[in-house]
Symmetry: C2
């Protein structure tokens, strides 16, 4: 690069800020910046406002830890929910997926992450304290661990399972097995092994 050629400062700052988004490299960040400046300045202003609003207005639900504008979120406040079941998920996106299955009427606890020793995320960083307190409130009878079936999700489930069982709670985990509509030929060997080991009569 010759010294006479540099991005103008506000453009370089925008590209730098966009690069902090997960999954966005320098080429994508450039493309996003050009697009916003050239074709969608209104979208840029809307995004700036949305970012400011979201950071200012969203906090965590005191009961389930999900993002909410209120002290307690709408799901936790709903009288139609079964307060004896508590489903532990990693993120609001996972909670979304479970809601979309229309088969669960209980409440949630959103970890907002999972244990990841490599990234320095331990039980303290995930703040398991409030979850353990919440689960031991006397109303909850079953805790369903719905963390991912990845190494990190399994470690998280294992850790929570020990801690919750020590408090006398019934702990279950989502079933592993062949996905609905899955043809065995196209399912990976690890999944088949789990489906065999956990086969049902």
């Amino acid at each position: 690069m010759q010294d006479s050629f540099n991005d103008p400062v506000p453009l370089a700052a925008l590209i730098g800020a966009l690069r902090r988004l997960p999954g966005v490299g320098v080429k994508s960040a450039r493309r996003m910046a050009y697009h916003l400046l050239q074709h969608d300045p209104a979208g840029a202003q809307r995004l700036a406002q949305a970012l400011t609003d979201a950071v200012a207005r969203l906090g965590h639900c005191q009961r389930c830890n999900t993002f909410t504008e209120d002290p307690v979120c709408a799901v936790c406040l709903s009288p139609r929910r079964d307060a004896t079941q508590l489903c532990v998920v990693e993120s609001p996106a996972d909670q979304n997926m479970i809601e979309a299955s229309h088969t669960y009427r209980g409440l949630y606890y959103v970890l907002m992450g999972r244990l990841s020793p490599l990234e320095g995320i331990g039980p303290d960083e995930l703040r398991f304290g409030p979850l353990l307190e919440r689960a031991a409130d006397g109303t909850v009878q079953e805790v369903i661990l719905a963390t991912s079936f990845t190494a990190e999700g399994d470690v998280t489930a294992h850790y929570l399972s020990e801690a919750l069982r020590a408090r006398g709670l019934t702990v279950t985990r989502l079933a592993r097995g062949v996905p609905a509509g899955g043809e065995l030929e196209y399912v990976d060997a690890g999944t088949i092994a789990w489906a065999l080991a956990e086969r049902r009569a």
Copy 2:
């Protein structure tokens, strides 16, 4: 989705605004929103500020049309540039790549797009007028068309070539051929065909 379960308004607004970025679908937008809110609120504020600044402070260079804070950009003002050559590119990113080759000392004109009849982008939308005026300033002797070698880039180059030649200018196009380091076995047939047709003694 049950009616008791919805994203809080500021979160939904943020996800919606992120989705307007090119290449970002609803799952990526969610992941970005959760990441910013949970792990990088400072990054969210920095991005909001960068967006506002960039939209407010950046305009187009009066001479080459690239993004700049000033009426005329640093490249156009540089006395070390050869003003007899004008290289036409689609975007500042393309200009960047040509600068990185360290082989061009002339000036640029940045189209900020390319002809795309399917998207309704014609010569009026790209504002070819200023380019044609600029090229006919009496100093420019050669216009190098460095638009992409795609259907749209070719159409843009063809259109500009006709208009510039009609004004008595010398017009050239970047060479097509096998990339540096390219092994023929892994080069596509279209490129081979071009390299054969434009073979040199």
